[in-house]
Subunit: 254 residues, 2 copies
């Protein structure tokens, strides 16, 4: 049975539409490759009560939770405090985080704001930050990472080796210049036979023509291949040209 | 008091990392311009139970809920059924939706799959689709829209005139080539004085240099301007060059 995961994105800048969240897509692709089932993404603002509520809901219903955002030095960075509150533990300076950060700044520049980045909840383990030093942390089943994409990715790389592995999710994508409504009945019949495979249908509209991408996705490579072949045979029977635009790759990795 | 809103994004393709969700950012910017406070975004897969649970949670805690995805003709399009179940109402063919769709296809091509797109929950009102005919719908405080961005945007345009208005959110962004930790204490002091304004700090790392974007955001234009001016004065006092890269615009609209 695959482990389940959720992502909690923290930041007013996502909810205002100022910033496009790309972190959750990146985490999603990494998790798919590890065979961990991402079940939900939530975005909340820089509000302690809402972070606590969302985190407690997600960490109780999923094996793993990944948060992004809110661990910098400014007043709006409140994730560490909110995580401590969610877990009902105290928060304080972590000696190793303090040492790393103190060493980073010239004498006199390790100020109060920067010291805030050394505060982690009691019992948390640090996640190293190869980009900008200030660490993330891991407590219980929750991984707390930065919001800046480059920093978040560096932290996730550190976390990956300790994550549980399942069977990676595999996807085959077939693109055809046909309308969804024409292939829907055939797809439904294939889906009915292939219970272990999730068959998705995604229409596209391009200047060069519209059509549909049909995706067979699952953890059993043989079943995914069988479903993809059945989709191709169905399109052939309808007289529709089709091509595999992605081969068998971990879902989302190509 | 501003109305509150949530977005429910529905689709396996987001959770697998295959597709980058851009719909919620677009809705976020439109809502900010209308003065509606977006409080949460959730993403769930094509799973009836999870859609029902998320929708019932969100529609009870927010004034408005916008969903995207899952209203096409294929077997994985289950949003309409899930919404009916969440509201505890029956679902059936909507006469006007049927008429629109029937007129769209050549004789004999309005097949069972396409007829599915005419199914809406009892009591729902249609949301016109100027791009590809198949409508969205509105029931209670929930607006159900397509997942294809071009179609979603066309539906949202139809919905906007009937949404409640508040004071639009206004943002001023100031960019400076300085580290967050240097300005954090001054920012916190300004935030403490300007309770009606949310001051956000967003570091960036570019090939041309790193720095921070400081955003003053709120519904009172005078308070936002006062906070922005205070931020500029603080940067000036630190000897840091700064520039307003966005003027006073509805949040996220520039």
């Amino acid at each position: 049975m695959s482990k389940s995961a959720a992502i909690l994105v923290i930041g007013d800048e996502i909810l205002s539409g100022r910033t496009q969240d790309t972190n959750s897509g990146h985490i999603a692709r990494v998790l798919a490759g590890l065979g961990i089932a991402l079940m939900e993404i939530r975005v909340v603002g820089d509000d302690e009560e809402r972070i606590v509520e969302a985190l407690n809901s997600l960490r109780r219903t999923h094996d793993l939770v990944f948060t992004t955002g809110g661990i910098g030095p400014t007043h709006d960075d409140i994730t560490a405090d909110a995580v401590a509150k969610a877990f009902g533990v105290s928060i304080g300076y972590h000696p190793e985080a303090w040492r790393l950060l103190e060493a980073r700044y010239p004498p006199g520049e390790f100020n109060e704001a920067r010291k805030r980045m050394a505060r982690v909840p009691q019992g948390a383990a640090l996640i190293p930050n190869a980009v900008s030093v200030a660490p993330g942390f891991h407590i219980g089943n929750v991984y707390v990472m930065a919001g800046v994409p480059m920093v978040m990715r560096a932290m996730l790389e550190q976390v990956v080796p300790e994550l549980p592995r399942g069977r990676p999710s595999i996807a085959i994508t077939i693109e055809a210049g046909v309308m969804e409504g024409t292939v829907a009945a055939g797809l439904a019949a294939i889906q009915k036979r292939e219970r272990e495979v999730a068959i998705g249908s995604y229409p596209f509209y391009r200047d060069t023509g519209s059509g549909v991408q049909l995706v067979a996705r699952g953890q059993d490579p043989e079943a995914v291949e069988r479903a993809a072949t059945a989709i191709e045979a169905h399109l052939h029977a309808l007289g529709v040209a089709a091509q595999r635009i992605k081969r068998v790759v971990p879902d989302g990795q190509s």
